[in-house]
Symmetry: C2
Subunit: 407 residues, 2 copies
């Protein structure tokens, strides 16, 4: 039994038309009009495939295919269809479309599973519009309270709960932990490792720990002309030194840690005024909790030292934290066995990015399959994976689903 | 004969109500609704003082008090009433209000001058909304073409010429060089030198040279999680190193050079995305042209080296340049003699900031008087000067005006 790669490709590219921006990227921010359009398309496809569609209080969409045993909980297969601004066609969408392709293939072959299969599309995985990311799978896993999630707002002050209602996807099904047999997610790697090693499949052992810090530096805004260098308290000079220090931490820590300053805002941000205030974020990831803890300590103490030297005031806010997580050995081993049976090369790896699987796997046994990202690029218009790899990955998803259903 | 400091203070504080922002600062950007209100107030005061008001094509306002000799060109006294965002009460406004106080005092004392006295308020001195700064005095001095000035736009794409019309200050008087006897400008120092040396008066010998550079660094936008540190082309890391390098240049050059990165914009500016593009400005000032030239060369070559090391592409755009300028020795000496006659301590200095006087003094003999800025602060809500110093400065302006009129 094999999935139909042409049908999968066609669906994925059809979905990619929604929110497409000039240059080949996609902007389909959570709860935007584009997100609504994409949801409507997905729900239509689910219903055409005979799935019973439910939308929960967080707008998570589930399409259910009955199993032969009424008493068993469902096996979830899914991902998300929201994107970052100017993101790519594959991130998230591939997992949902491949899950749909699994269902279509089971239908074509009239295969019945013991457990119900549910195709899942989670709301606001990216966190690009509403922070934190993986908000809705987090609520479903019991990690975030529903009302807190509803109260999140975007940079324009628009409220998650109201935006969800506006696009017509504030469902009535309770969003909370429920019995599940397993959760499987197929995704692009979003990193360069698989391509560099010429391996078509990555089997994900777990997800690295993640810390987000918001740093504010307050100096003194002053005219750039008559203020001597020695009398300045320039918040941007301090921030610049902090960026470099943060970038140097993985080198000092060794291993595979990554650190990123992705966001920075300068005030008043005028060519001839010494910056009085700068806010920036630090994103820090590693597979070992102790190391993230130590590194965050280094970030803070390093910035405090710089602040002291530059005469600015530093303050910190931890805006997000997620511990390193290992997937169920049973699921990981099953996927690896299926992969071996096809004689496809694979590699075990840790995911550097968070995924809905991180939260779902805290409520049921979970696992993820990766395919290579060309040049390791993602969250950009150049994001791409080869259809040959995708075909392998989707077939691996199909047969892993069947193998786990049988357990 | 003495100015009335209470009247001057009252006018200045009344003007400061327009555009006042919580915390004590002022946002009265050029050609904003607040600028229009302030202009209306000023024109009213000019007319009350018997001045004949003219508005030129650039919105520069001139209030003319006739002289006893019809054949002589006017002596201009003035400054500007626009501010930066969250600027202070004194920058610019003090010069215009002190000029008004000079006129009021001459009226009170029924003093007639040989030359007509014109009180001038120049449009868009700050360059905070429309670049370059000193745009309208620049047109009047024949440095910028009128149509080019009209076509300047702000960050929202609003056009100078249209905004000028919108607020009703696109006058019909040609804005171009015309015969002038002299130009005097009273201003706050905007630097810490006078206060540090406890001198109430600064007599300005000239204005330092200024260079503005816009730098764009293009790297590669990528997901912050799965992209190893060694494979990144992070535009913000490169920009951060550039900021530090630019800050270090005055130390390497010695002397009184100052360098500032006041503006920075990061793209896409998302916490978990490696910055793909950063744009920032460099502001560099020194009293010697050769040194600014050499330092700009160092900035460019330093950034090129960093760009190479970080795998990003650097491009440069020179957005503004102004050569060091020395004021008329005759005017500077006259102001100094008047100051000596009052036995007020004074200090000769160079202005670190550009002023309308810079352009006007290229068409007529010009000079400037400074009073100390508390803690050297300006372009911020803490901008302040003591009323005692202001009284001395305004009296010096009055008597220098009379002395230069007599020449």
């Amino acid at each position: 039994m094999k999935i139909d790669i042409r049908r999968l490709k066609k669906s994925l590219l059809r979905l990619a038309q929604i929110g497409a921006v000039p240059g080949g990227g996609i902007s389909r921010l959570a709860l935007s009009d584009e997100d609504k359009q994409a949801r409507d398309l997905l729900v239509g496809w689910m219903e055409e495939s005979g799935l019973k569609v439910n939308v929960d209080q967080m707008g998570n969409i589930f399409g259910r295919r009955s199993g032969s045993r009424k008493d068993l909980p469902p096996l979830l297969v899914g991902s998300h269809i929201d994107t970052v601004r100017n993101g790519g066609k594959f991130d998230g969408a591939l997992g949902v479309m491949a899950g749909l392709e699994v269902v279509r293939t089971l239908n074509d072959e009239a295969v019945s599973t013991k457990h119900p299969i549910e195709l899942a599309a989670f709301t606001n995985e990216e966190g690009a519009r509403f922070q934190p990311p993986m908000l809705a799978s987090g609520v479903m896993a019991g990690i975030f309270p529903l009302e807190w999630a509803y109260s999140r707002n975007d940079v324009n002050g628009l409220i998650f709960g109201q935006e969800l209602k506006r696009i017509g996807y504030r469902g009535s099904v309770p969003c909370r932990p429920r019995p599940l047999h397993a959760y499987l997610e197929f995704h692009i790697e979003q990193g360069p490792v698989l391509e560099a090693e010429k391996v078509p499949i990555g089997i994900v052992q777990g997800i690295v720990g993640l810390r987000w810090l918001r740093v504010t530096l307050e100096g003194e805004s002053d005219h750039a002309g008559p203020t001597p260098m020695s009398m300045r308290r320039d918040a941007l000079v301090a921030a610049a030194r902090a960026v470099e220090m943060v970038r140097g931490i993985p080198r000092r820590m060794k291993g595979e840690m990554v650190t990123t300053v992705g966001f920075m805002q300068v005030q008043p941000n005028v060519v001839n005024v010494i910056p009085g205030r700068v806010t920036f974020t630090v994103d820090l990831r590693d597979r070992y909790e102790k190391r993230t803890e130590r590194a965050i300590g280094m970030v803070k103490s390093g910035i405090k030292t710089i602040a002291l030297q530059e005469g600015v005031k530093a303050s910190f806010e931890e805006i997000f934290k997620s511990s390193p997580f290992l997937f169920s050995k049973e699921v990981v081993d099953t996927i690896a066995q299926v992969c071996k049976s096809f004689q496809w090369p694979y590699r075990m790896l840790m995911s550097g990015a968070g995924h809905d699987a991180l939260y779902m796997a805290q409520r049921t046994k979970g696992g993820m399959i990766f395919v290579p990202s060309l040049k390791g690029r993602s969250h950009c218009r150049e994001e791409r994976s080869s259809w040959r790899d995708i075909e392998k990955g989707a077939n691996l998803l199909l047969h892993s689903t069947l193998a786990i259903d049988a357990q």
